[in-house]
Amino acid sequence: MATVPVTVTVNGTERTTEVEPRTLLVYFLRDQLGLTGTHIGCQTGQCGACTVQLDGEAVKSCMVLTVQAEGHAVTTIEGLAPAGTLHPVQAAFWEEHGLQCGYCTPGMVLTAEALLRDDPDPDDHTIRHAIEGNLCRCTGYQSVVQSVRVAATRMAEGAQPEPLLRRS
């Protein structure tokens, strides 16, 4: 199979590798880089489990070719906060039970974080509109919306990533 070189910055580190042009970004992240926090659900662009940030915008990584990310920056759930810490959005999901099985959670968190950078104080309708592309089969969304609201409040108060150990 013919491969082509690509250089993508993933979670702040520049990665140069060879991929087949047809390789979807989600497979590059999971299979080549071992970043399995990015989940695969539908593979048709509907469920949002594969959501990552591309230059800070939430996108579905099953709908992007790795070659399309050439020269761009990707953030996965592993890179949202420094290792061993939780980003305030992650901490809020923890506290508010914004997850049950956790399948949708990396995508939910990355979409929510992108929303809060645009709109630090969204109302419930705005939050629901923003997570339209992230399906959750467990929570019924109520606690997800609550988590995003709490994250917004904490971030407005200046919350920073905090050590994971303090919570366990």
Binding site: M1, A2, V4, E20, P21, R22, T23, L24, Y27, Q43, T44, G45, Q46, G48, T51, L54, E57, A58, V59, K60, C62, M63, V64, L65, V67, Q68, E70, T111, A114, L115, H129, A130, I131, E132, G133, N134
Partner: protein, 294 residues
């Protein structure tokens, strides 16, 4: 679920893309342009398309491909403008709010970050949103090919299921939208499929209200109802010159489905679509008229 194997080419300019399209056509191999990939990659994953070559336009540096420009009586929107950029564009929100309104209803936030205006028009999905809008606005679509540039009126652009007036070796570069006259309002009404987000039916209306409150001009674009988007010309004719009250508008819009060969599929029956086309047309016209005089 990767697509089938293909060769990937990054076009640095529209002319380079046109050159590549010509070369592969001459070789007899299939090539496709790639913009946001949000219509093309799904059909490639399903092996409904297996192009041997993908020509990525996203790195093309031509200025006309990107952004929104207002000059004089025309607003120009570049083909690579994403749904999300359209949704937030200040010029459009002020001068042509129909397109930002439509953009905000496309798929979801992640889809809007990647999908493009030009890609949607070129793909001509029968359930896509913008086709209704560009018909109602009466835009001109600019295509560049080996012989140079030409403009195609929106009315002549959508030809059949997934088929437009674009030639296989043409690139859609930009869309020119006429600035609407005073006392004009616009509105998009969409009944979205709950699973996919696409329009079961979508209706866009642009209405100019005369000083006496009657309908001076109106254009109605309908998507989702037939195998390609179309104007509701019979309803438009019935509205012009008449009052814009709810019962008159509803009566005129009872002909909004005329001329459309209504789809009958698992999403909706033809009869259901007929009712929705009529109902959404009336709502869109009334809301547009309300904005025109607000």
């Amino acid at each position: 679920m990767n697509p089938a194997t293909f060769e990937y080419h990054r076009a640095g300019s529209v002319d380079e893309a046109i050159g590549l399209l010509g070369r592969f056509a001459a070789e007899g191999t299939e090539a496709k342009l790639l913009a946001g990939g949000h219509s093309l990659l799904p059909v490639m994953k399903l092996r409904l398309a297996e192009p041997a070559h993908l020509i990525d336009l996203s790195g093309a540096t031509d200025a006309d491909l990107r952004g929104v420009r207002l000059d004089g009586s025309t607003i120009t929107v570049g083909a690579l403008t994403t749904h999300r950029d359209l949704e937030r564009d200040a010029t459009l929100r002020e001068r042509c709010p129909l397109l930002p309104q439509q953009a905000g209803r496309v798929g979801d936030r992640q889809v809007r970050a990647r999908g493009t205006f030009g890609g949607t028009l070129a793909h001509a999905d029968p359930a896509a949103d913008y086709p209704a809008g560009v018909l109602a606005l009466g835009v001109e679509i600019v295509a560049r090919g080996p012989g140079g540039e030409r403009t195609i009126a929106a009315d002549d652009f959508f030809v059949a299921f997934l088929t437009t007036a674009l030639a296989p070796d043409e690139v859609l570069t930009e869309v020119r939208i006429p600035v609407t006259p005073a006392r004009t309002g616009m509105e998009y009404q969409k009944l979205a499929n709950q699973a996919s987000g696409y329009a079961v039916v979508g209706v866009a209306a642009v209405v100019t209200v005369g000083a006496d409150g009657t309908c001076e001009a109106v254009r109605i674009g309908v998507t989702g109802a037939g195998d390609h988007a179309a104007r509701a010309v019979t309803a438009e004719a019935a509205l012009v010159g008449g009052p814009l009250d709810a019962s008159t508008v509803a009566a005129a819009c009872a002909s909004a489905d005329e001329g459309i060969d209504l789809l009958d599929d698992l999403h909706a029956s033809a009869d259901y679509r007929r009712r929705i086309v009529r109902g959404l047309s009336a709502r869109a016209v009334l809301a547009a008229a309300g904005r025109a005089t607000a």
